[in-house]
Amino acid sequence: MNVDWLNFTPWSSLAGGALIGLAASLFVVGNGRIAGISGLIGSLLQRNREGASEKALFILGLLAAPLLWGLFKALPPIEFQSGWSGLILAGLFVGLGTRYGSGCTSGHGVCGISRLSPRSMLATACFMLSGFCTVFVLRHLTGV
């Protein structure tokens, strides 16, 4: 294994992770809800009335985060590796997969593991595994 020490950002990633955990805690302790982004969006798309304004405001907060960040300092780099077709295919798979799998990195990976849910641990193992495999196939086998 060849670690890319130059781009390794242990402290900011730990601190960012801690903020994510704090935000998820704030939402569950205050609103009694799981901060799972795919679940919140899916619920809003299905016109589920229950808690719709709270869910929409959480999403609005996410949207506003880079605007708040931009008031104080320049945004961190946001660089894409895919073109049109890759983005569309990826988006479709992510949308469909997270709804069938009942969650994504936030709902299963952060909140689910934190409440020691076996379902979330299995889901996280699955999407990590297929994420690693997909990148391996695309980068090292097919050379796309």
Binding site: A15, G17, I34, L62, L75, P77, I113, S114
Partner: protein, 139 residues
């Protein structure tokens, strides 16, 4: 208060994603590329997030109501089924193609990158397809 708290939680979540490097698809893909120049940073995002959330979520599991008076709504399902595994595997394939998962996708939506808009529209279409297939299955 419920609404304000929801907004602040979302805001903090988004700032955390930006600080952590999760909002940069290139960095996410570098984490997923274990056979290349591997950037392990994102494992630390999970460590930091779980370390802070595990206490409050353990507390929440024993409550009926949230501090602001909402019913505590934690997922009750226990079954480890094919939908969970298949859906999560499919999600991982999408994540591995573009390096974007739902939280970061929303966070970078208004930063002026057309790629984020295309991805989110496709993601919404994927979620819509799920709803369509589900209503067909259970009309």
């Amino acid at each position: 208060m419920l609404k304000l708290n929801a907004f602040l939680a979302g805001l903090l979540f988004g700032v955390g994603l930006l600080l952590a490097g999760m909002a940069n698809p290139t960095k996410v893909l570098a984490f997923l590329d274990v056979a290349g120049a591997w950037d392990p940073s994102l494992a630390l995002v999970m460590v930091g997030a779980i370390a802070t959330a595990i206490g409050p979520l353990t507390w929440a599991r024993r409550q009926r109501k949230s501090v602001l008076g909402n019913p505590m709504q934690l997922p009750a399902r226990k079954e480890l089924d094919r939908r969970l595994v298949g859906g999560s595997l499919l999600f991982g394939v999408g994540w591995g193609i573009a390096g974007i998962c739902p939280g970061p996708a929303v966070t970078i939506l208004l930063t002026g990158h057309w790629q984020a808009i295309v991805f989110v529209l496709a993601m919404i279409a994927g979620m819509g397809l799920f709803t369509l297939l589900e209503t067909r299955r259970n009309p």
